[in-house]
Symmetry: C2
Subunit: 195 residues, 2 copies
DNA sequence: GCCAATCTTAACAGATGTGTCAAGAATCAA
DNA sequence: TTGATTCTTGACACATCTGTTAAGATTGGC
């Protein structure tokens, strides 16, 4: 390589992720990314082409981290623990930061028409992966025994419901509310009555 | 009145609603609204002040209609019927139009940071109203008896879950999927086991 | 040390959006 | 009929964003 890159790509992508996470797709401009990262707009165009490529790249690390966290969480000894840990991870993901950043995926899906086909496909893939991971984990006998519905149905409900949690977070900014609602749903999804 | 308004306000607001519904908050410009309605941009500024006021006005009729539909739907003889009808209304609301418009409220909440405090407050009010309506309807003995959880918990879950449905609609455009997931959740929320 | 490749930087052109304003058109009231 | 009031229209000034480009700076390979 001859004319060497002046910026740290890892740092750049972390910053890019943070800006998209906070502001969403449409409210984030290339100027915003340049300013936040300290890398000139022209350099970003030169190195990546534009907003979409930068997003997709930054999203990759986010997706990996999130799915890894979920995998760890739902590897639990019982359905009740698995659901509670899953909700903990989901809620932590959308309430972290000052002020809370909300859920990147959900924000992006809501704006995905503006973001274009490629981004939509990537978001779909993340939710597909999430669904698959949940299904497998919930299908283990030890867990499945504690569920009122099938692993497939339960997984689909959980994926959908956590998207709803993200929207409620965006409007009410109350992690207590999220925890409380999740707790209620967990009871509805468990075959054993706890209340 | 002396210098009379050249446009039909009801028609204007219907058009404004449709544009916001399709494009969301940020992607809708005053020019878009002017073009779609046939009313000049200057006239819109003169008559309403700007985007926010136009949205709030158009949202009013949407909110009334939606809440009325929900009220009618959940006035049912059993919990199972109430939940099914509620989901029908919610899913019809977000899959209507060609192409489907999605859920206005959910789209707006996801972008509400950009839309400002007033809009956020109005959206919060709609969801609060929805929650209250659901709670009251589910608290009727006939219905309550069929629920696994309390009317309050069930209502909160339903409000949150339908936000999730809207996000899933936006990403997968499959009303079958929405119906199927809703059906599963209904079974989890009903005290009687149907499956 | 020099060349060539690559990155950086600032600037440009073009598009789009906002909010305002002044002049013109229309109409009700007196 | 006249005048005052209100709406309409097109233009203006300003801001922001996009994508490109040309010139300059940097540095590894030869």
């Amino acid at each position: 390589m001859v004319g060497v890159r002046q910026f740290d790509e890892a740092k750049l992508l972390a910053t890019v992720l943070d800006v998209f996470w906070r502001k969403g797709w449409q409210a984030t401009s290339m100027s915003d990314l340049a300013e936040a990262s300290g890398v000139q707009r022209g350099s970003l165009y030169n190195a990546y082409g534009g907003k979409e490529a930068l997003f997709l790249l930054a999203f990759e690390s986010y997706a990996q981290r999130f799915l890894a966290d979920v995998r760890t969480a739902i590897d639990a000894p019982s359905a009740a623990v698995a659901l509670n840990r899953f909700f903990d991870v989901a809620i932590a993901n959308m309430t972290a930061g000052h002020p809370p950043r909300g859920c990147l995926t959900t924000k992006m899906v809501a704006e995905s028409e503006a973001a274009g086909e490629l981004v939509q496909a990537r978001l779909r893939q993340l939710l597909n992966d999430l669904r698959t991971i949940m299904q497998s984990a919930l299908a283990i006998d030890q867990i499945r025994a504690g569920l009122k519905l099938s692993p497939e149905e339960t997984a689909e409900i959980l994926v959908t419901f956590t998207r709803g949690l993200a929207i409620m977070e965006a409007l009410y900014h109350s992690s207590d509310q999220l925890r409380s609602t999740s707790n209620s749903l967990a009871r509805a999804l468990l075959s054993t009555r706890i209340y």
